[in-house]
């Protein structure tokens, strides 16, 4: 028996669509969201002020060797400012610590008041702070980042939230409604419903190749979809 190609291809297209149709719909919907909202907006670049480079007065600062002596294992020491005062930031495998750059004394963890001040300084909006909490368990939106950190939420429809380090006061992450929607869209897009990071999961692999076969049979069907006989009866 001769194979009736149009029928076979149409059936294949139809049945594949039945299997991956919902996912194809989700791919185009989430894909559209991800391309339509600019990634800089998603990253929340407009929520925070980038620090202005101001010259340091290097006279009278404690030598970094003092910091090395105080913190064996330190891999990097950086001069920065905390509330306008110069500090040495020492990076170790266990995290970062601050030292007063004038006295060399290690600085205690930031207080809630300092964190509030810091968050206000970084945040570009003028909404009020709604909540300030020191988290010891990572919320979903902080992904693999290890707590503890301060979570500072601001007033606003998009619930802008800054995450700050308790030891250095620096900005770790910023989150807001559009980011959260993006993250959800990304989860649906890559079909990793747990960690939202595994782009190699078997479910995705099967679904993508099925969708490819569906698209290919769809393209094939186009051959028979536009009859050439059409000629207007004059």
């Amino acid at each position: 028996m001769a194979i009736r190609w149009p029928l076979l291809v149409r059936r294949t297209h139809k049945w594949l669509a039945l299997v991956v149709g919902v996912q194809a719909l989700l791919w185009t919907l989430t894909g559209f969201y991800m391309v339509a909202v600019h990634i800089d907006t998603i990253h929340g670049d407009n929520l925070v002020r980038s620090p202005v480079a101001q010259p340091f007065d290097l006279d009278g600062l404690v030598a970094p060797s003092k910091v090395v002596a105080a913190m064996p294992g330190v891999s990097e020491i950086r001069l920065q400012r905390l509330s306008g005062q110069p500090v040495w930031r020492a990076e170790t495998p266990e995290g970062a610590r601050l030292f007063d750059a004038r006295s060399g004394a290690p600085l205690a963890d930031l207080t809630e008041a300092q964190i509030r001040e810091q968050a206000r300084r970084i945040y570009t909006g003028d909404g009020k702070i709604v909540s300030v909490r020191l988290l010891t368990k990572a919320p979903q939106e902080m992904q693999a980042r290890k707590p503890p950190y301060w979570q500072v939420e601001f007033e606003g429809w998009n619930r802008p939230t800054l995450y700050l380090s308790p030891t250095t006061g620096e900005l770790i992450s910023r989150r807001h409604a559009l980011w959260r929607v993006f993250d959800f869209a990304w989860m649906l897009h890559i079909m990793d419903y747990d960690e939202r990071t595994d782009v190699n999961n078997p479910l995705l692999r099967v679904a993508t190749w099925s969708a490819f076969a569906m698209a290919l049979t769809g393209a094939w069907l186009l051959i028979w979809s536009f009859p050439r006989r059409k000629r207007k009866k004059a």
């Binding site: 139809k14 669509a17 039945l18 149709g21 919902v22 194809a24 719909l25 791919w27 185009t28 919907l29 894909g31 559209f32 991800m34 391309v35 339509a36 909202v37 990634i39 480079a53 101001q54 010259p55 340091f56 290097l58 006279d59 009278g60 600062l61 030598a63 970094p64 060797s65 090395v68 002596a69 064996p72 294992g73 330190v74 891999s75 990097e76 020491i77 950086r78 001069l79 920065q80 990076e91 495998p93 890559i190 595994d198 782009v199 190699n200 999961n201 995705l204 692999r205 993508t208 190749w209 969708a211 490819f212 569906m214 698209a215 290919l216 769809g218 393209a219 186009l222 979809s225 536009f226």
Partner: protein
């Protein structure tokens, strides 16, 4: 002009025409998505940064920081270890100055340093070392001039090392290169490969919504009870056997 009636035939036509115009991109999205899902993300690598080794700073005295500036304002100071010696990174309005942290001498990030830094990330023999004045496609997430160190390994790895700071920037291999080609097909940014928010993709993605939307709708119109008869037919003999 005929009035548009929202019949299955109408949606079938939309599906057909959008398919004709944007179908190729849909096919490419499915293909590139499939390939990216197939390529092991650990081999692709290059995401998230923070992959460079950090070396503990040796104890002892360092060059006096107050003597570092040469008349220029200093907006940042970093002390770190290259793996072979400690260095100061001095940020000034003119750029970054790299200074030996033991004797205060300026350091030029030469080929030797580039080789040392790159070799800490890859033990394979080095095939070629070259300077690039501007980032290329492989090192596009970074800025400034850099060394490119090519390795003779199975992945044809290339390490990029900053010419200003001697920092290791990124490692790219053939798996990443393959991935990046398909990522380009996916994000439709054929020149820079980095943006997925340009007008072309927004337009095509909007069109693709119609393709998938009408397609999904048509699923409900394309299947009849008869299509699922094979499900029932298979069940029957089981029932018969049980009663016998």
């Amino acid at each position: 002009m005929k009035k548009i009636r929202l019949t299955p035939l109408f949606f079938r036509r939309v599906h057909k025409w959008v398919g004709l115009i944007l179908g190729l991109q849909f096919l490419l999205w499915a293909l590139s998505g499939s390939v990216m899902a197939l390529l092991d993300k650990d081999k692709v690598g290059g995401h998230g940064g923070g992959m460079a080794h950090s070396h503990p700073l040796p104890p002892g005295e360092y060059f006096d920081i107050a003597a570092l500036p040469q008349g220029e304002p200093v907006t940042g100071v970093v002390l770190r270890d290259l793996g072979t010696r400690p260095v100061y990174e001095l940020r000034t309005p003119k750029g970054i100055r790299l200074v030996d942290a033991t004797d205060g001498a300026d350091i030029r990030v030469d080929e030797g340093i580039a080789r040392e830094v790159a070799s800490m990330m890859n033990e394979a023999p080095i095939r070629k070392v070259s300077v690039i004045a501007k980032p290329n496609l492989e090192s596009r997430d970074h800025e400034g001039a850099m060394w490119r160190v090519d390795f003779a390994d199975a992945e044809n790895s290339s390490a990029y090392v900053s010419l200003d700071t001697a920092r290791f920037l990124v490692m790219r291999g053939d798996t990443w290169r393959t991935w990046d080609f398909f990522w380009m097909l996916h994000n439709m940014d054929y020149i820079n490969r980095s943006s997925f928010n340009h007008p072309l993709i927004i337009f095509v993605a909007f069109g693709a919504l119609w393709l998938s939307g009408t397609g999904f709708y048509l699923l409900f119109k394309s299947f009849s009870r008869a299509d699922f008869r094979w499900l029932r037919r298979r069940r029957k003999p089981v029932v018969v056997r049980r009663t016998a």
